[in-house]
Symmetry: C2
Subunit: 252 residues, 2 copies
């Protein structure tokens, strides 16, 4: 077949960009060589799949970045639906320093499990001492709050968890896509992690790098509907969204 | 600690929605019971992480849906950066029918590897015979084309791969977020899979269900920059995006 070649550049449009890409690759440190940011994403049973993987896609394109999935134990860690598992490459006992920590959110079972797991909370507190950025997506901010990191701060979380966050912890909820408070950045629900990761990329590198990453992942969002904002949603739509989530998740 | 309870509903805002969620969960078939769509996502060495995981997040919220990660062999399948692995729960020899097939894209190494893997291409052709929907994200459309499924059709792909797709196969490239041609739906690069999955959710279920899923994953995109559209990007930005991609990926 005419396309059966391993030498053709599928992604690169022109010989010029191919050459430029080879040049940048040659200048870059070997993969995982550690000259770039060391980014760790904490997985726990019952996280929501897009919470860690959206930011990982974005942040892995930072120059010389290393992204490591971490959990209480190494191995496959299942999502809230239990259909899908991402591999934790390292256990928390193997990781004592990170430039960036990201804590994803999950369903009720996963979030409550994480916020009551004292070993995880201790590890989060320890890692946070030396991070450049400590971040969360969705109900991951509730896990950060349970670890004591959000006391007296402004933060965001999943829209349906805002009341819980504010009533349970000394946190002021802001209905924003992401909220920066010192070196802590919290993102709203699930897909907001992608927006937060681009913002984080601009802080770690610069705006031009973040813009290039946005183009690299072709993030020019055009959802077929305009129903993702809870502040504009009807109570019927909100109830239906929560019913679909509950029905898709492995129950508590 | 006052928040140490496993009985509190973290996600659900009110007692009413909690009760409604329990009702929907009770009416739903047991998880994976097979009354809903059977969705299979093909993984191969060198795919891009968000390509399968964004749509999986969305499609897993369809009523009674089952999402299964599939690869040539069961087990961990690594992304283009090799940092992250998602578990393939089934091998292609174990799956002979799917309602929905999704083929993700990858870097050069992954895409070229998949399009030259005759066992994968045969499996894609066989599965496609009985699918309701055969779909792709990013350079996954090039894999579909290599399997012979896009002959004479309109399709989209990753922006930097459009010339390759059109010059190598009998395909008309459309610079759209997603393109439907009969029962085949192709999405543009990486993050476009989320938009495509919401469209697909509306086809599998209905608009109201897709809108509720969009709210469930809080997909109200607000990227900090507006640089994700290749048609509006400078040649400098495009070259930088491709350099970052190339440098982040394990080389061919």
């Amino acid at each position: 077949m005419s396309h059966s070649t391993t030498r053709r550049n599928v992604l690169r449009g022109t010989a010029a960009t191919a050459a430029a890409a080879r040049t940048e690759a040659a200048h870059a440190a070997p993969h995982g060589g550690g000259t770039g940011p060391n980014i760790g994403i904490l997985l726990y049973d019952g996280y929501s799949l897009l919470d860690p993987t959206g930011p990982a896609e974005v942040l892995s394109r930072l120059p010389d970045a290393t992204v490591t999935m971490i959990a209480e134990k190494r191995g496959a860690v299942r999502t809230d639906t239990a259909d899908v598992a991402v591999v934790a490459e390292r256990s928390i006992t193997e990781v004592d320093r990170l430039d960036v920590l990201l804590v994803p959110g999950g369903g009720d079972r996963g979030t409550v499990g994480a916020m009551n797991n004292q070993a995880l909370l201790r590890w989060i507190r320890t890692i946070h001492r030396h991070t450049r950025w400590t971040t969360s997506v969705c109900t991951g901010s509730i896990v950060l709050a349970a670890a004591g990191l959000l006391d007296g701060r402004e933060a965001t979380t999943y829209w349906a968890s805002a009341d819980y966050l504010q009533s349970t912890f000394d946190v002021t909820y802001l209905p924003q896509r992401y909220v920066r408070s010192g070196k802590i950045i919290t993102a709203a629900g699930v897909s907001a992690g992608v927006d937060m990761a681009l913002y984080l990329a601009s802080l770690i590198a610069d705006d031009d790098t973040a813009k290039a990453i946005q183009l690299a992942v072709e993030y020019d969002p055009r959802p077929p509907f305009d129903s993702g904002n809870a502040a504009e949603a009807s109570s019927q739509l909100k109830e239906r969204a929560l019913r679909l989530l509950a029905a898709s998740q492995v129950p508590t």
